[in-house]
Symmetry: C2
Subunit: 328 residues, 2 copies
Amino acid sequence: MTKTVRFAAEGGPEVLELVDVDLGEPGPGELRLRVAAIGLNRAEAMFRAGTYFERPGEFPAKLGYSASGIVEAVGEGVTGFGIGDEVSTVAGFSMRDYGVYGEAAIVPAAAVLRRLDGLDAAETVALWGSFLTAYGAIVDEGHVRPGDFVLITAASSSVGLATIDVVNHIGAIPIAATRTAAKKQRLLDAGAAHVIVTDDEDIAERTREITAGRGAGFVFDAVAGEGVRALSDATAKGGTIVVYGALDTKETPFPLWYAPTMRMFNAFDLTLNPERLARAEQFVRAGVRAGTFRPRVDRTFDLADIAEAHRYLEANGQFGKVVVTAGG
Amino acid sequence: MTKTVRFAAEGGPEVLELVDVDLGEPGPGELRLRVAAIGLNRAEAMFRAGTYFERPGEFPAKLGYSASGIVEAVGEGVTGFGIGDEVSTVAGFSMRDYGVYGEAAIVPAAAVLRRLDGLDAAETVALWGSFLTAYGAIVDEGHVRPGDFVLITAASSSVGLATIDVVNHIGAIPIAATRTAAKKQRLLDAGAAHVIVTDDEDIAERTREITAGRGAGFVFDAVAGEGVRALSDATAKGGTIVVYGALDTKETPFPLWYAPTMRMFNAFDLTLNPERLARAEQFVRAGVRAGTFRPRVDRTFDLADIAEAHRYLEANGQFGKVVVTAGG
């Protein structure tokens, strides 16, 4: 029997329960992993709460995209992985089918990457998902170029910090937006060329100051909602706002007449496409080798404290990834 | 003295007045035209009503972007035009500065093109603005390719009909959306490959039927507002909605998660850029030579009946351009 997180109904963090289940053997194309560390994603809190773009198909429901661990069983037809391999999962499946919150998990082999050299399990889960997202949005789809200004909201999130690293890696200029002054110095230390404290400063005005009046060519937004009006004013003519999260669950407007191009970034377009995922993997490995892509583990929780870990995640106090250790 | 349309306050069509003014001589870079025909644009009704993206700087205010006529005076420094030349204006200026509703008008020479061969003044004003917009959005910025499905809302408007012609000209496939069945046959006759009657049919469902389930790769929308949700459902994965008008003046949402790329098309980006305008002009002349770009004059009014012409424009009953003849 394996201790695994399940929830019997959508709701707050308290619906998460640690239960003993028999995972069985991996099916064709699947692996079973002994899990060492789990990286928490905002999407999982939304899936738990019933506010994600997809809902559980049945209850009790599974949860979790990102784990690092060791292969302990290999399903039929899987090539390239053997028992004992150190690996990580990426969000390349539906949580209606798979979930990695547990001491072990069955996952599709197509969503498994080899662990990064020189990083431990917690650092690895902190790194993969965030950097794949940053690469996918900024480089692969965004075509951001050296010298471009990139405005990043919720910059202290693990994706925000990864985006700062990716933007610097390619010679573009990261502008970090954060709500309060509390994290300003840490964002500068993390590589932000400029930090805008949105409780104290007008984001559009400050962005125009920083960019000599032109505005940011690319805005990467985790928040959505009414805030995109101000982001629209902060965007250069011909620029783009890419929304990848919805911390604000209220309606998002398309601000007519002066609206820049607006797009959603969907990480599944990358993780479910083997060619794109392979390129993303190469890019992330290159940044890790160069030392420019740094894992940011904010805090670790024990698996038994998963509800508390979700509460902490949703309080938005973190600087980097919230990680759960599963002992594997 | 020249009979010219002015309005002393923003409001309904009744604010438009025909008054005698002394236009004076054109300044540096300007021409004075004897006006033969004026093409009415939705933007002018919005400018009159105070709902356009810019408002009059002073009253009485001028109005009007599109006129055909004959050069009767040439300002300092203008080259390439002489007295007696047959020309047309395009929307390459602000109505805070210039307006062509009148028997004569002073306009910037940069916004003047030579008349199209073989077309009379009414046909010429019906053609230029609509086809420049269709070219700019579909070809120059939109990069629509042969075989692409293009969904066109308000398809009976002059821009809608021009878009059908442009889409066919490049080998793409126009799907026309119209509210009632009244104009369905005329849209098919005008070259629409498919017509969706939105009062009777679900636009997303019908578009998916027509496109073998994929949705339209490009949606060109004159309406905005809540309707973009259904358009989003009608758009293919990776596709784009380009909004160029706001017949619906209510808030426009950006429909998160499944939203395609959304952009505004702003014709000024083309008309105020001499290189882009020159390319657009060549494209439109090529289509007119080929016979694939056809002027669509819906109805003509006398200049004295300008208020009635605006009322007719705003009733949305037209099929093509509403034209005002000014006798020049």
